[in-house]
């Protein structure tokens, strides 16, 4: 397998949950490739397995079967699972995560929240132009505020800034606009789009928001743990 241009290469990914006597294949034999610098959005009905899939692609969880390679390096495969420490090492090198519920720390200021990752890990090429990052995201003049003093849209932009300080190669966002009204949602969508286009970050989102899905270069529909027969947009 060649690494050229492939950020994520998933083959026959399966994730099975045991629910009492029932066994649910939340992700059922999904294979896909995501190119470096691509912007992919997963859509599909509730419970179809989007979150489960994006967690596997983001190395947040071990698959039950199948293999996953990140930038040509096989992470999971042949039934191999990784320890939390190993996963952490991979995650902090390559990924930034954004969630529906922002999860800012309420006692820390905007600036402290944004630079929080540095308390644990600072990548060699980490951003030191935090001020510029913040003003890019329309957060200038907000650095000293506490999360409680911000609007939902601002909180999500703080969370995005936080995901970016260590310059991730891949940005994962699970329902990033789920808690925002359409105007704020559109702002966040524009930010993701710009990051993808201007900085070349690979962006992967899960969303119910058609407007957000439309900003992606490729939209993939998930149904019952599988990629739907008809992908909404073909690979660009």
């Amino acid at each position: 397998m060649t690494t050229n241009g492939i950020a994520i290469d998933a083959k026959n990914l399966v994730k099975i949950y045991d629910r009492g006597s029932e066994r649910i294949a939340a992700v059922n034999d999904i294979s896909l490739q995501i190119r470096t610098g691509e912007y992919v959005s997963f859509v599909g009905p509730s419970g179809s397995g989007k979150t489960t899939l994006i967690n596997l692609l983001g190395c947040l969880d071990n698959p039950s079967a199948g293999s996953l390679a990140i930038a040509g390096t096989e992470i999971f495969g042949e039934g191999r699972t990784l320890s939390e420490r190993m996963l952490t090492t991979i995650r902090r090198e390559r990924y930034g995560y954004i969630f529906q519920n922002f999860y800012l720390i309420p006692t820390l200021t905007v600036l402290e929240n944004v630079t929080l990752p540095f308390a644990f890990y600072r990548k060699e090429n980490a951003r030191d132009d935090i001020d510029r990052l913040l003003s890019h995201l329309g957060l200038e003049g907000r650095t000293g505020h506490l999360p409680g003093q911000l609007s939902g849209g601002e909180m999500q932009r703080v969370a995005i800034a936080r995901a970016l300080v260590n310059r991730p190669e891949i940005l994962l966002a699970d329902e990033p606009t789920g808690n925002l009204d359409s105007a704020r949602g559109a702002e966040v969508g524009a930010v993701l789009k710009r990051l993808n286009e201007e900085e070349g970050i690979t962006v992967i989102t899960v969303t119910h928001n058609p407007a957000l899905a439309a900003t992606a270069g490729r939209t993939i529909e998930i149904r019952d743990g599988r990629i739907a027969e008809r992908a909404v947009t073909p690979p660009a």
């Binding site: 947040l60 969880d61 939390e84 420490r85 952490t88 720390i105 820390l108 630079t115 308390a119 644990f120």
Partner: protein, 399 residues
Amino acid sequence: MITIRTIAYKNLLRKKTRTILTVVGIALSAWVLSSLFGFNRGYESALNKDIDNMGFQIMVTAKGCPYEAATLMLKGGTGLRYMNEDIMKDVLKHQEVKQITPMLMQAVFDPNKGESGGMSAYLGVDPTTIASMKGFLEFKQGAWFTNPEGLEVVMGYEAAELEQREAGDLLLVTPQPGKSVELKVVGILKRTGTQDDGTIFIPLKTLQRLFNNTGKITSIGVKVQKEADIAAFEEKLYQLPDVQVVSLVQVKRTIISLVATARVMVLSIAVIAILIAMIGVINTILMSVYERYQEIGIIKSMGAMPGDVFRLVWIETMILCLVGGVIGNAAAVALAQATDVLIKRLLPYTPTGSIVQIDATLFAVTTAIIVGVGILSGLYPAWKASRVRPLEAIRGEVS
């Protein structure tokens, strides 16, 4: 720019009341611990000082209960037994004796003392021998008696403070109802930190005359020759009829055994105090870990290793314990005197000096113990937090 320590510190400010309550709990146990340790070491040294400052090593008293004798020796008491002064000759015969001094202890009710009156301790002493027996006593004002049978007193430092007397003032004593006598204060002693501070010294003959106790004494203090075998000498003294021989070594042992029971109780309280503080800390930290499950998950998705999260929670515990420990210890130092008074009320006999001694070493030791408790209490919550998986945080939003 931001460190794990900052996060820990700011997190504690999140629920201020809870943090303060926990710190207060730790401070209380630190205070109890520190005070008890201070008492443990202070009591014995105060006792030793009291005994060394008596000026003699053996006391001969009338036969009676040994505890009573021990108490009598150090503090004076009621229900005293009297001996005839003739017995002094028999004691003096022994070659081990360097010097002796007779004493007559008299507790007198003084209606003017305190709010509802109180007992004053008069000690009749022999003006010719007392000065050399208790050569370490120094005068703040005046000097020993001018007349061996005079109506004169020398007051201990605290006795003088209490009665507000200066040398040259008069002191009224009422040996029998309706019959008051004026005594002249001829001297006031400097503070010694022993029972002498609370004593009113009066010539033996005067005291005997005032209280119709002619020829009677309550005890004889015996200063022993340096090279003498005290144990053997005690045996010899027991040949005398109806006497009790109390050596200071024995007194000390008696008192320490009396206090030992109290001490065991007190140490159990300390252990309980520590346990309570520990449970409080574990509860607080564990609750804050549960509340922050998702946050911790997010922190881990940012690249925090299990060890980082462990440290974060552990530091929170340490801050709580360090702050609580220092406050509690500082309170113990600041309130040592109050504790002193409290303990003195609880114990059957306590030496005169300060019995709660807290110094820098003790401060450091108890703080270290409390922090040690913190380290232990933090282990489980920190471990629990370190095992949170980022996925759990994300699942939280699914529901």
